[in-house]
Amino acid sequence: MCTVCGCGTSKIEDGHTHNHDHDHSHDHSHHHHHHGDMHFGENDAGVSVPGMDEKRIIAIEQDILGKNDHLAAHNRDHFKAAGIFALNLVSSPGSGKTTLLTRTIEDLKSDLPIAVIEGDQQTANDADRIRATGVAALQVNTGKGCHLDADMIAQAIHRMEMPNDGVMFIENVGNLVCPAAFDLGEAHKVAILSVTEGEDKPIKYPDMFAAADIMILTKIDLLPYLNFDVAACMDYARRVNPDLKIFQLSSTNGEGLEAWYDWIKSGVATAKS
């Protein structure tokens, strides 16, 4: 039983049961009515037809991600209650998530409480890199898993000291596909794209750029050495998601970091409300 909302571990709405003639083919009959109650066949009045091999159709209408989304809503409540601004950082492997985090932490840790949840399939390397800054980090190894889910975050936040009235960074597994589907309870999903990856990433992996509401174009210190069209990249990104907010920065030379920091600070200021 959940202590926040008093619900059970899973929440299931009532299904409507309809009995069926065995020989009736469902494939044809179940296409047309897609709202609320469903009625199959002609004389279907909810009458039970007894029989050993009785077959029934149950309309259940459950979101496959319902459980995850429910847990994510709890995480969101926890973060809100503690005034924590939670960010879910997603990118392909090696885009520069951990480097941006360590730099951001060094620059902001005297102003704000910060903690990090690190998701990787294997190793505690990234959590070690974060801890070297003096900030608390919890490593979540997903094994074969290609993404973090809300349950992993729920377990993590009960196991670590929370950065009350500060920032919780969640570094997702490096993967531009799977983490798009899983809400963790964050305030924002931040997609990080480095200029060495090519400007057409947003249209090659549109689901991620549609799921995110923030995009960070990073490693811009490398632009002089590359043929990377920044305007085209932003155009592609906004094609997928017209409302995307975009930052351009370099974690190495510090260019563009101020705007990112200002945005984080204003997020923390409103996290409680």
Partner: protein, 113 residues
């Protein structure tokens, strides 16, 4: 391959239902999968038999109903059917399309006994 965890999510839903409703076996599972959702139907079909093995839905048949992507153009208000998130408005050519449907991933119905 997140379809594997999503398919496990389907099994969780089936098992929860079996506890609350009086059935022993799931014979058929209908999923409604939007064209713009995070599921590749082929990938889900690929995992399905393996995930359901030795469960109440061992050997169950999977039927995926694909629903079309739908969007509204922010610039001209046209409602249109789209097949990807990088589509443009057929009327004015704008890329500012807001997705209004076709991103669902739902267990719709079960045939049980």
């Amino acid at each position: 391959m997140h379809e594997l965890s999503l398919t496990q999510g389907v099994l969780d839903i089936l098992e929860d239902y079996a506890k609350q409703n009086d059935f022993k076996r799931v014979k058929t599972v209908w999923l409604e999968i939007g064209k713009l959702s995070h599921v590749q139907p082929e990938a889900m079909t690929f995992c399905f038999d393996t995930v359901m093995k030795d469960s109440i839905a061992d050997g169950a048949k999977l039927i995926i109903i694909e629903t079309p992507g739908q969007a509204i153009c922010v610039d001209c208000g046209t409602q249109t059917e789209i097949t990807s998130r990088i589509a443009e408005c057929p009327d004015c050519g704008s890329y500012k399309l807001h997705v209004s449907g076709g991103d669902e991933m739902r267990v719709k119905e079960l045939e049980v006994e």
